[in-house]
């Protein structure tokens, strides 16, 4: 599994920062997520999430909302 740490701007609908971590660095990904959550605590529209998946393609299948360039691309 790869762990994708995404910093996502909900209103803008785009990823503003991202990092990938190997399975062995899973704990690091989570610690970094917590650190970023504290940094962005006053920004309600910033979502910070760590998603585990076999690949980015697999992640786009289950969490496509984060990756759509335009909102309507979710449907295509």
């Amino acid at each position: 599994m790869t762990y994708f740490l995404l910093v996502y701007d909900r209103k803008a609908g785009r990823i503003i920062d991202r990092h990938e971590y190997a399975e062995k660095d899973r704990a690091k990904a989570l610690q970094e997520r917590f650190r970023l959550e504290a940094t962005h605590r006053d920004h309600q529209d910033i979502e910070i999430v760590v998603l585990g998946a076999e690949s980015e393609d697999a992640l786009r299948k289950t969490h496509g909302r984060y990756f759509s360039e335009r909102p309507q691309d979710l449907v295509s």
Partner: protein
């Protein structure tokens, strides 16, 4: 693996978080530790689903912000939030194939309970969930068909811009805002209602396709069946989704 805190300890934390506009650093740290405590069980559950069942789940731990939002919008205790740790499976399944997957997962995780949200949708949301319990921690496995997942993603995306309350059945923020790019008189509120109607249409499509799949298994040739209306209905549903999503990128015009 760490022993989870007691339910009463978690619920007391939940009440403090709910009741405070700006939770203390100590409470946020305790919430973070509780979230983190789910991680080993989440990893173990994901491994079982992948290696023993040959499925491809994605995994995530719920964010602190989403937990706080849920506590403030709903009268739920913190210990009752069962999706702090989650796996998601999305496939182009029929309803029967979705049931079959749920059955396989139930056999793999004997200490679990099934929640069929197809029968009892939550504000339009339909899926099958399996809540697995390991060492006092819960993991929610979301089992979604392609269309159930698409609806859920559209609602999430719309709620990102029109207010997170939509996911809890609330009206959009600024419900009377019109969109310059759509038919006059079409507001955010009517678009949100359209999405709820689309949820029912998804349910109908899946029921019809399930019946068709049964008939094919019974030996009826697809060419002998009456032309299925589901392709047309699905096209309408997708148009409803696209219409709502296109508004998110459009300019605002105040409604009268």
């Amino acid at each position: 693996m760490t022993t989870p805190p007691s339910k009463s300890q978690i619920d007391r934390l939940g009440e403090r978080l709910r009741g405070s506009e700006k939770p203390s650093e100590a409470d946020l740290a305790e919430l973070q530790r509780w979230i983190q405590g789910h991680d080993p069980v989440l990893g173990e559950t994901a491994r079982t689903v992948r290696e023993e069942l040959g499925l491809a789940p994605t995994s995530r731990l719920k964010t602190a912000g989403t937990i706080l939002d849920k506590l403030r919008r709903q009268s739920v205790r913190l210990s009752q939030i069962q999706d702090v740790a989650g796996l998601r499976l999305v496939e182009d399944w029929t309803l029967a194939e979705q049931d079959d997957c749920a059955g396989r997962l139930t056999r793999a995780f004997p200490v679990s309970r099934l929640v069929d949200r197809r029968a009892n949708p939550t504000h339009g949301y339909r899926a099958v969930h399996l809540i697995v319990v390991i060492d006092g921690y819960q993991v929610e496995i979301q089992i979604r068909t392609r269309l159930q997942h698409l609806w859920a993603e559209v609602i999430e995306r719309v709620s990102d811009v029109w207010g997170r309350g939509i996911r809890y059945g609330e009206e959009p923020e600024d419900p009377d805002v019109l969109d310059m790019n759509v038919i006059p008189g079409s507001t955010r509120a009517s678009a949100a209602l359209g999405l709820m109607d689309a949820a029912k249409m998804v349910s109908s499509i899946e029921e019809i396709r399930q019946q068709e799949a049964i008939r094919v298994r019974e030996g009826v040739r697809p060419s002998e069946m009456q032309r299925s209306p589901t392709d047309g209905i699905e096209a309408d549903v997708r148009e409803t989704f696209e219409g709502a999503l296109r508004r998110l990128g459009g300019a605002r015009m105040e409604g009268s």
